[in-house]
């Protein structure tokens, strides 16, 4: 069955450093991969989408890479700030049921001043 793995342990980094989060998947050939940010008690907010034929995507301080051979995506936040503290979810699509997303469990990022 399809499986998406994100580090369930929180990632603690110092302000100004680069945060790197990992998303690994198995039994899946996604056409695209998305990253979302979720704050406590709120719904996820879309950040970036990268397609299977793209290696890298950037948006301001965010960078996403997508390696379909390794079945892995890396999500980087450069010059991290305490306001970046949140849970970050990766999502792959479409899943076997159609044009749906399958979400990972998310990694909590804590940026300390």
């Amino acid at each position: 069955s399809q499986k998406i793995e994100q580090n369930s342990e929180a990632l603690n980094i110092q302000e100004g450093k680069t945060a790197t989060l990992t998303c690994n998947y198995t039994n899946y050939s996604p056409a695209y991969l998305q990253w979302y940010r979720q704050d406590p008690g709120r719904g996820p907010v879309f950040l970036l989408l990268i397609r299977e034929n793209e290696k890298e995507k950037r948006k301001e301080r965010l960078k996403v890479t997508f390696d379909t051979t390794l079945k892995q995506s890396l999500f980087h936040i450069t010059a991290s700030q305490p306001a970046d503290s949140a849970t970050y979810l990766c999502a792959l699509g479409p899943n076997n049921a159609g044009n749906m997303l399958t979400f990972g469990g998310g990694t909590r990022l804590m940026v300390k001043p």
Partner: protein, 114 residues
């Protein structure tokens, strides 16, 4: 800020009660979804709709039902709430245009069944 709304935000209700969670979006999106999320866990798709009068069950089995009579409205109903239904319920929508895959989420309803 996404134009998708959920009410109530919080609901505490006794076992056996019937409840309806409301979800509305003003973006004109054809596709709408309901997810269930327990604290610290992944989102699980429980229902989705591709348009008016179209509803399908998602990956996670749920005792809830949904309806889609209007494009902007996608309510979720539990006929008889049980403590096992305690969870966060998130509604989302997306465009039907090719290449537009991102989903827009509402703030969620946190349901507690006592």
């Amino acid at each position: 800020e996404a134009d998708i709304y959920q009410t109530p935000r919080y609901l505490v209700i006794g076992t056996g009660k019937k409840i309806t969670l409301e979800c509305s979006q003003t973006m004109g999106h054809d596709k709408m979804y309901w997810y269930q999320q327990d604290p610290g866990m992944e989102l699980h798709l429980i229902h989705y709709s591709y348009g008016v009068n179209s509803t399908e069950k998602g990956d996670l089995s749920s005792e809830s039902t949904v309806s889609r009579i209007r494009t902007e409205h996608f309510p979720l109903t539990l006929e008889s709430a049980r403590p096992s239904h305690t969870s966060q319920y998130l509604c989302a929508s997306s465009e039907s245009l090719s290449g537009k895959y991102e989903q827009y989420f509402g703030p969620g309803t946190r349901l507690t069944v006592t």
